[in-house]
Amino acid sequence: MKNTIDKIVMDENKKEEIRKELLKKRTKNHTWVKVAASVAAVVAALMIVPFTRNTILQAAENVISTFKSKTGTEIKVVMDENNDIVSAEVKEGADEYIEVIDDRIYFKIDGTSTDITDQCSDSDFFRYEIRNDDGTYNLIYIGGTPSEYGWIEIIIVPDMNQAGSGEDGVLVTATISSKICDADSPQKEWEKKAEKDTQEFINELKGN
């Protein structure tokens, strides 16, 4: 049977047609996301940001957690019984945290707009912290200049081990604005500082 099935291969012309289709298709690429189940991965992986979470158990094995940010972005993380992340699905939100008007950077949240230009540069960030009712935290970092800015939003779920995630019992996910979402581009100084700030925040949470 194996020998027979081995001979079932897709037509090369069709493959080439699909390759071309995949390469020409434009992606919004608004959100670049990686998910880390342990704190150790925070520095290496930048992640997504939720505001509310809703954790359910599926088939007594997989844990599905859904997160939503205020920009409308939604991420669904599926973990197996070993706490390994099986998949992460992201639905992009329609909103942005940043608006640039007359060469000034404005931070928009909850219907407010704040001029943060003087707090942002290639080496420094503006930081906004939210503690949610469910015990989760959102850290929003904005850095860069009016012509080259970006934001990183981190969510920290301190008790995620109860839902079956992460040896450290902390789930950290993040979403990153399209301006800095290219994984191949070098990290800017403010991004490195933001990661360090996140790590310190987590260490404090853990009492280290």
Partner: protein, 159 residues
């Protein structure tokens, strides 16, 4: 995920997903469409997944697409899918023996074909197959057992 990354995944897994789709939906043309849809979905939904599980994840998306396609075809045509003539779509290099095996595989009900493919060809465990097909492990075991029995009888009759 970047377009180039998706193309790399496509080059790695296109044939595996295609074989699975053929065993699931039975039609060469439909299987091609399914595989194309799987990778377009990766781009449009900005999906990321743990690289350790990428193949089983892609097979899961493929299974979902196959299921949707069969449902849609059944709705549109009211055709008994099991009665379609699979033997019209042989592949290059098929010997008479291959044709016979392929005919009998495709003659199995769809609910048996997919788990049998994943178990005997891909080598997945019952547990892994239950995740991919979103059915219980006992259902996987049952379908493989019954499918295998039917296949054995058919192949014995053939010889």
């Amino acid at each position: 995920m970047k377009n180039e990354d998706v193309v790399k995944l496509f080059d790695s897994y296109a044939d595996d997903l295609y074989r699975f789709a053929v065993s699931y939906v039975g039609s060469r043309h439909d299987a091609e469409d399914v595989v194309q849809d799987v990778f377009l979905k990766l781009l449009s939904k900005n999906l990321l997944f743990d690289r350790r599980f990428e193949k089983s994840y892609l097979l899961t998306i493929t299974a979902n697409k196959c299921k949707d396609l069969l449902k849609s075809k059944a709705r549109k045509t009211s055709v008994d899918l099991e009665s379609e003539e699979w033997h019209l779509e042989y592949y290059e290099g098929f010997t008479d023996s291959d044709r016979a095996v392929f005919d009998e595989l495709m003659a199995l009900p769809e609910i048996y074909r997919a788990p049998i493919h994943l178990f005997y060809y891909e080598g997945y465990s019952y547990k892994e197959i239950s995740r991919i097909l979103k059915i219980s492990e006992s259902a996987v075991a049952m379908r493989i057992k019954r499918g295998k029995e039917q296949l054995k009888i058919r192949l014995e009759e053939e010889t």
